[in-house]
Amino acid sequence: MATHAPLSEVREKPNPAIPVVVAIAAWIVPGLGHLLLRRWGRAIGFFVATAGLALAGYALRGEIFSHHSTDPFGALGFIADLGSGVFYFVSHLVETAGPDLSRASGDYGTRMLAAAGIVNLLGVIDAFGIARGRRG
């Protein structure tokens, strides 16, 4: 005769897809992953940090790397820029004048755009860890 575990001992297994969904959401829209996890402070913080860096980078007319880059620094720059999610995909709509690397401000803008992507990737990792229950 089969025995069944008491109801109190039955535990729902966490859905393994949830952390992945949260991570993708956090990448596409900065802060969205934390929003889904009801971590309001982190959601606002990551959105403000990523958006601020990206918009400052556009205002300074930094270079936005594309997947066509042939040199290793361009490829790394593309990966960093891509990390900012939606801010990368709408970059051609925001920075219509194109990059201006003849001035130092353009160089600062390039670094800020890369930093926006890296900060968002930090948020993705944080959201993924929280969703897996590894972080508070």
């Binding site: 940090a49 990523t50 400052a56 800020m112 930090l122 944080d126």
Partner: protein, 50 residues
């Protein structure tokens, strides 16, 4: 540099601390360290630019 330091400090504080008060303190400390180290390294490199 100030904008960069401020925004990155906000992100670091969100990851590193869990309450609003500790986040603010951590972000402020991080921001001041960014500025101090940035300006300090700039002055150290100044003789090399001449």
């Amino acid at each position: 540099m100030v904008i960069f330091a401020l925004l990155v400090s906000v992100a670091f504080a969100c990851v590193g601390r869990h309450t609003a008060a500790t986040r603010i303190k951590y972000a402020l400390l991080s921001f001041l360290l960014f500025l101090a180290i940035g300006i300090g390294v700039a002055w150290l490199m100044y003789p090399l630019s001449r």
